[in-house]
Each structure stands twice: as C-alpha cells, then as structure tokens.
Symmetry: C2
Subunit: 205 residues, 2 copies
C-alpha cells in the first residue's frame, strides 16, 4: 500500500538511525553466512541465535510487505524496496543521484551475495539494478511511468566489486519514454540497457 | 572460481544439512528486519546480537565470494548463487525442475524482501528470476551458453506471493540459442522474456 504517515523530518531521521544500522548488520550476516567455514557447532549455535532474534523482531510487525510510505510533505520512504530500501538487507542499497540535466547515476559495491558466475555479478542482478535506475530516470517529478519493456545487452561479465551505473532519457514519443543506461566497472561498460516506460492512462495530460 | 572438491554424496548431504538451515534462518531474519515494529531497545539489542553472530561466523571464512564448486562426479554446487544458492539468504532460493522435453520450470513464493511497487514484486526481481531460468534452459548438458541479450515485456504488475516461472528453447541458429519464458501468478502471465544465448568460441563444435 501507499501509506501516508503523519511524521516530520526529525521522526524520519530517528527511524532511519534506528532501522538502517539493523539492516546493515543483517547485510553483513548474509555475507558471513555464504562465506563461513567455521565449526559445525558454532554454525548450529548461530542458527539458533538468529531464529531467537527473528522471534523478538516479529513480536510486533507489519501485516505483509512494507509498501511505500509518504509523509505529509510528499517525502517518499521506499524503505522496503529490493534495490534502494534502507530497511531491506537484500538491497545493496543503491544511493541514486540525479544531475541537473536529468541523468541518474549511482556508485555501489556488490559482494558475495550477488554472485552468479564465479567471482562475477549474477546477470539477473545487473538487470535488477538497471531496471530500478532506468525506472527512476523515466519518472522525474510526480509523473509515474511503468516499465513496458526492458532490454539488456551483456557485453562481458561484470566482476564483483565497485561498480557504476547511469541512465538518461533518450526520447519521449507520446506516452512512451525511452530510457538508456549502462552498468560499468573500472574498465568500462559491461551491460547496456534500454527501457520503454509507459505513462498510465490516468496520469496522462 | 570453479573449484573441484574431493567429496562424496554423503559429505554433500552433511554440508547441505548444516548450511541450508542457517541460510533459511537468515532469510526469516531479513523478512523480520523489514517488517518489525517492535520497541527501539529491542531493535538495538537484536542489532548487537546479529553483529556478534557475524563475528563468530567470520572467525574462519572463504577469501572472497563462494564461487561454484564441483565434486569429482561433476555434481555442481552453486551454493552462493543469488537465485538458487542453498547458502545464499538473498536467494529465494529457486528449485528448478527440468522436464523430459527440456522445458524448465519453478514454483516459488516471493515475500516482503522482493518488493518494488507496494504489494508487488520489484520488476528487476522478475528480471533476475527469468534471467536465471532462461540461462539454465539455454545450457542443457555440459555445453555452456552465455547471455547475449535479455528482453522483458511487463504485461502487468506481479503480486507478491506464490508464483510460477517456465522457459523453453524456441530455436537454435548457429551459435545462438533463443529461449523464451514467462513469469505468472494464479491469474496468468505477468512478464514475458526472451533471451539470446551465445556459445563461446572455445565451446563450439
């Protein structure tokens, strides 16, 4: 659900400072879960600890998924989002910046949790990141646009480590917005993407 | 790295029984981290517990990402994989079955951790799942094929909950294998995908 929460900036900051570090800690735990080679009895003990911690968190919880919350001034809090969610340990999370000319870009690092081919980013994770970035680029301001098609061209495998993604609007034709973007490592582009985004009937001029 | 491990089926089963439940427990913790509304002091306490558990797991760990391990009989163990990895808490994980005719399919459930639009699967997560399924379908037997392009058509939003994905080879033209697939909920198809996979020069007949 899109939910309106009657909270101010101070309260948003308080919540970010409370939930952000918990999600960060779980991100580290995810990495350690994949990579640990410690003794079996330690692993079983950690498993029990994690289950007990989960029970404590579930003592009071949202019914269903997080949704997207908005404050009265229109600040969006997509904190459960799988790519940018402050509260979602699956999200790297991406911090996306917008230039004055409308270009969007992000620098981020992907580790063991995002692996596909050995030592490399899963091709589908490249798609996940680019889908999100192109979608944000297609919907500047308050006009929503929904993904119609997304095409990815894999030039070469993307190594795990520091990466850079960027996207810009290529052209607008009626209700269709064409967005192009790339994922790159230090050596250059690894994946190219093009998305066609559609303005829904209810949001057209 | 692709690593050869000199272990038998009994040892593989032992490891799966050790690491699988830990990853499952962390998956539940991820969900609870997104959805908890419990008291601030509990959240801070759980965060400290998670950090301590991570330190214990990191006492001995793999240097870098998991890679893909193979046993002497050729059994693959892509346990760190972001979509199917038994040890990767980010992976749902998908259990993919192969029919006699080469069609691949999977039934799985996506919860709060995979959210994009409120109550719905992130479009990029749909891409992640389909990329993996189409890739597996394109590479039957021991002949590797790498993703050249992947095109996704979003027919409508995919709700969080039980889903079904399937893929089949449409045609083979020289070194190119064309694979098509779909993601569906109980009402029908939500996303269509087509992938073009390329046989690398070193693996051509």
């Amino acid at each position: 659900m899109f939910t309106l929460e009657d909270i101010d900036g101070v309260e948003i900051d308080r919540r970010a400072a409370l939930y952000g570090p918990l999600a960060d800690a779980v991100r580290e735990l995810i990495d350690a879960t994949i990579r640990t080679e410690t003794d079996a009895d330690v692993i079983r003990d950690v498993e029990a600890t994690v289950r007990a911690a989960t029970t404590r968190l579930r003592d009071r919880q949202i019914d269903g998924a997080y949704g997207v919350r908005f404050t009265p001034d229109g600040t969006g809090m997509p904190w459960g989002n799988a790519v940018v969610g402050l509260r979602n340990p699956i999200a790297p999370p991406l911090d996306i910046e917008r230039d004055e000319d409308g270009r969007h870009h992000s620098r981020f690092t992907l580790g063991a949790a995002y692996e596909g081919p050995p030592g490399h980013v899963h091709g589908g994770v490249c798609a996940l990141v680019l889908d999100h970035l192109l979608g944000m680029t297609a919907s500047p301001g308050d006009k929503p646009n929904f993904t119609g098609t997304l095409t990815l061209r894999y030039r070469r495998a993307t190594p795990l480590g520091p990466l850079h993604a960027e996207a810009r609007i290529d052209r607008v034709e009626g209700v269709k917005t064409f967005v192009v973007g790339t994922l790159s490592d230090a050596e250059g582009v690894t994946v190219e993407a093009e998305g066609v985004f559609i303005t829904p009937a209810w949001a057209r001029d």
